[in-house]
Structures are given as C-alpha cells and as structure tokens.
Symmetry: C2
Subunit: 160 residues, 2 copies
DNA sequence: GCCTACTTGACAACCGGCTGTCAACAATGT
DNA sequence: ACATTGTTGACAGCCGGTTGTCAAGTAGGC
C-alpha cells in the first residue's frame, strides 16, 4: 500500500512550501531591526562561522548559492558597515570579506534573537519529534537533490 | 536542556530551505515536458480540485498567493490552451477560469508523473516516519505562520 | 439615483534567486 | 615567453513571488 506514504509525502511537500515562506518572513522580521534580511543574515553567518576571511565565491560555496547572488548581498551589506574588505594577495580582483566589529555585533545580536525566537517556537514539542523530523527532512532533501525529477543526471555544478 | 531542541530546529530550518529549492527544481523538471512549471502546475491543480470555475482572486485565495501573482500565471497559461475563459455574470471584468480538455489531460498527466516520482522517492522509508514528519512540519508551519517573528500581530490578509 | 467602499485587472517596480556573457586577471602547460 | 584554461566581478535579463497604484466595474447605504 503505497498510497498512505504518497499522501504523507504530499503533506510534507505542502508543509515545506508553507514553512519555507513563513521562515523567510519570520527571518526578515527578526532581522529588520538590524537592517538585515534573511539573505544578508545568511551571508554574515558564513563569515561568522569561518575562521578566515572569504572571497565572494567562497561564501557562495559555503552557503550553496551562486557567486553572483552572494555578490549582490555583499554589495548591499558593504554600505551598512558590517563588512571589512581586505586586499587579496592571491587575486587582486577578488577582495576578501570579513566581519567588521559592527558586523560581528550585528551577527551576535541576530543569533540571540534567533535563539529566543526558536526557544519560544518549540515550546512543548518533544526533542525526539524534532530530531526525527530533522533526520527525515535531511534524508528527503538528499534524495530529491541527488535524483532530481527523474533519474536524469542532475544539473549540479552550476556555471563553472 | 533546551539546547538540543534548538539544534534540531536549526537543522529543520536548513533542511526546509534545501528541500524547498530541490522540490521546486524537481517540479519544474517534471512539468517541463508539458510546458508547465511548478507554479503553473499549482494553478492547474487549484482548478482541477475545484468543482466550479474560479476567478483569479479565488484561485489565489485557494493556493495562498496574491491575486497578482496568480494573474501572471494565468496569463502565461492561457496561450498554452490549458484554460477556458468563461464569462462571469457576477463581474464582467473578472472572467471565470476552467480547465480545457487539454488542461485537464495535462493535469492528469502531471499527477501521474508526480505519483511515480513520489513513489520512487520514498522507497524504503517507513510510513510512520513520513507521517510523523508531516505532522511535525504542519505544527511548526502553523506556529511560525501565526506567530511571525515575535508575538507581533502578523501581517495577514494581504493587500485587500 | 447617487456616493462610497470594495473588488478586480493591468501595470510598474522591487526582491532574491537563477543564467549567460564579457573582460580582466591568475594559473598552468608547453 | 606564450597560449590555454579557470576564476572572478560586473552587468543584463529571466523567473516567481511581493507591493503599490490606477482605473473600471460592482455592491450597498442612504
């Protein structure tokens, strides 16, 4: 009887779509006081989690976006004073980006906001339920991503 | 110990982002042979599941998008011959949309493609695992959507 | 019958993704 | 040294969403 699992999968898909939108909205709302958006927060996060300055393409690689998309966010982030642009000896045209003090403060503030938001969100939900859901989603994401729609070779490696 | 549930939530968020992108890509790939995209498929679905013709705003309401966004897809769908535009006696400016024979065939074909894709995707995954994940996601989506980022009244109802 | 308020389609603009292209620079092989 | 290949930033354009605005049609109160 595949029918029930199909229905569950459909429910998961629909919930993922709704949740994705809701999470981005919530992230934007969380980030607004700091002049950030979900996308820019993610870029800050890549730098905050790295132990060395990164170029735009490295950041893109780290968060799974294209270098062009990340470049957009970096260009928007720079005027806010959250970034430090360092000369890159390995490639004069591609500067290294690093968090400025203000950027690091902003990221830490975002992290605190996120943590308290998350804590409120999961009130009353059993740990195992969340951990199980995380595992299932990761499994599904892996399958979908590697399979694509058919068993067709996926259009992976992007432009390079 | 809240820490572990926070981590699980973060994992869920990241998985949701990845899965959302992967599902849309897979949907586009599935729909391509029928000249459709994920977005247009969803619009066809709203009409297929309805028992009466619908106006653009009604479709938007059904699938949770703005009327303008749906209008875009309808405008794109019409030239494909998948839609029938019926005069609306209740509002001369707002035609009712209905699936043409070709549209209904296309939707049924999409449904078949989706079902076989879904069946392959969940091979080996226990039904309960998927059902549990679906429940958890629906719970989370509901919480995030109604809470927003803070306990701030959400900006629901859109433009009207 | 008229005025107001709502609904609707059309249009423009924006956002965050994507792709593609071009030119500059870097790295590598010969 | 030189040619080739790869990386990178800049830019333009597309997609699917959003918002906002405008004008036309509709509905309801008076």
């Amino acid at each position: 009887m595949r029918h029930e699992t199909d229905e569950s999968l459909t429910r998961i898909c629909l919930a993922v779509f709704r949740l994705n939108g809701a999470l981005l909205d919530a992230g934007d709302e969380l980030a607004r006081p700091l002049l950030l958006t979900s996308a820019r927060w993610q870029v800050l996060g890549a730098l905050a989690l790295s132990d060395t300055p990164l170029t735009a393409p490295r950041i893109a690689q780290a968060i799974g976006l294209t270098r062009q998309g990340v470049q957009k966010q970096l260009n928007a982030l720079a005027p806010l004073g959250y970034l430090e642009k360092l000369e890159n000896d390995d490639n004069r045209r591609s500067p290294l980006f690093w968090l400025s003090d203000a950027g690091r403060r902003a990221y830490q503030e975002m992290d605190a906001l996120y943590r308290s938001w998350a804590a409120k969100l999961v009130l009353g939900l059993p740990v195992e339920e969340l951990a199980d859901a995380a595992r299932t989603l990761e499994e599904l994401a892996g399958r979908v991503k590697s399979w694509g729609a058919s068993n067709t070779p996926q259009r992976g490696g992007r432009e390079s």
